[in-house]
């Protein structure tokens, strides 16, 4: 059950690091040690010291945010993206721009091992390794998606456009590709509670997803009982009139230090 813990840790650092890239100044190490808290309180970033040489990422690695719009996005995909982007900032009466209820999460195709973990566990590194959901360079061919998080409401939404390489049934998305998106979205949401691991993913397939179509994936925290985090998730058509698949996921909070072989991670 360690699998998703590692995944979450990696994704958490993606998000944390991206914030440093997007203006927040965060130490690489502080990102890791304090991210659980930072995540719940974005404003906490302001109190951290300037980005330093302690960055998680080697300077020679260019980090592309795969959740940014590209030419493969359909008008529907772009319209939904713009709708949520507009909710990421709010303007006060005084004309000041502040963080809104939603945050767009960046998405990269590398994991922690290319950074701080790489230095500590060189034997585990395969430079060719890429994140499963971002392993195709051709834009629009596989998974095109962007996740928006609403920390206060403990929910997130993902706008997903399937590419021609995700086919299962003729003209429809492969059930495994659907499951992959559910794993990605529920895992991202569960990071609200710091380090977690996935214990269960239970999927109900209701209707096929047309290949090349855009769908919405809504996920919310159902309840929290001690270390158990119960998450619900559903994939629908963009007007939410058609339910494609719904699922529940169970995550357990935990620590990752012993997994990464270092207490700093």
């Amino acid at each position: 059950m360690i699998m998703m813990r590692l995944g979450l840790q990696a994704q958490r650092v993606f998000h944390s690091f991206s914030r440093s890239l997007s203006g927040h100044s965060v130490s690489g190490v502080l990102q890791i040690q304090g991210f659980g808290a930072l995540w719940k309180s974005p404003s906490a970033f302001q109190s951290l010291r300037p980005f330093s040489k302690m960055s998680l990422w080697p300077s020679n690695i260019h980090l592309q945010d795969y959740s940014e719009p590209n030419e493969s996005w359909s008008p529907e995909m772009r319209q939904l993206y713009d709708q949520y982007i507009a909710l990421c900032e709010v303007r006060t009466d005084g004309g000041e721009v502040k963080t809104g209820p939603w945050q767009k999460l960046p998405s990269y195709n590398r994991t922690l091992k290319h950074g701080i973990v790489a230095a500590q566990r060189p034997k585990t590194i395969d430079p060719r390794a890429r994140l499963f959901t971002r392993n195709v360079e051709e834009k629009g061919a596989a998974f095109e998606y962007v996740v928006f998080m609403n920390d206060q409401e403990r929910r997130c939404v993902c706008v997903f456009q399937s590419g021609h390489l995700l086919e299962g049934p003729p003209g429809y998305v492969h059930a495994g590709a659907v499951a992959t998106m559910f794993s990605t979205v529920t895992t991202t949401l569960s990071m609200l509670f710091g380090r977690v691991l996935t214990a269960n993913l239970n999927l109900n397939f209701r209707s096929p997803v047309p290949l090349g179509s855009v769908s919405l994936i809504h996920s919310a925290v159902d309840k929290v009982e001690g270390r158990k985090i119960f998450v619900t998730c559903r994939m629908t058509s963009i007007d939410e009139s058609k339910l494609y698949t719904d699922a529940t996921a169970l995550f357990l909070s935990g620590k990752l230090g012993h997994v990464f072989g270092t207490k700093s991670v």
Copy 2:
């Protein structure tokens, strides 16, 4: 819930067609209409008429069997493949070679729409479309797997080698890639009962799967109640000492004609 029905239909034809390629002479149309029965009784192929122009596949499409060994396979992968291949044929006391208890199933990267369905539903065709689990041409980079079926024991086994493009957590296979293999294997097994659809896939993640490792996926029919087919599945290390993930899947038998828009399919 039509999604997997289409997938199964497509896969069933893959297998059926492959048998015609491998010596069994089967009419394309007969493959579709009678495959449920053919599958349960491979010997039934012998009574069918020679492969004809009614083939599902245009002659200009080269069908590569992605389940054949290639240079990316590790010694462990190849050894397990050879072990099961040896069980696919039995030699009688008279020296005659007959079909054994196991059958190796071929695997292609196209679906039905390139064949008979293409002719009937041209608008649904995207020539770039590829089966999700076979969408990477680079050998060993993504999903390397082969499924062996034991019809009489109503179970199958899949030998799976994960490539560097399936990464989730640093150094481990993405949970979505694991779910994808469970979907593929349980779906293939359920085809023993003809046309089916997936209603549910319930996954328990026990331990992470090292990226690049070889694992075994065993799946068996638990019980059949009317239209309901209950399947169990587990992914373990090759010596089966370590359980990575286990799951249950529920399939429902059904028809596909109305989905394909033709009674012949």
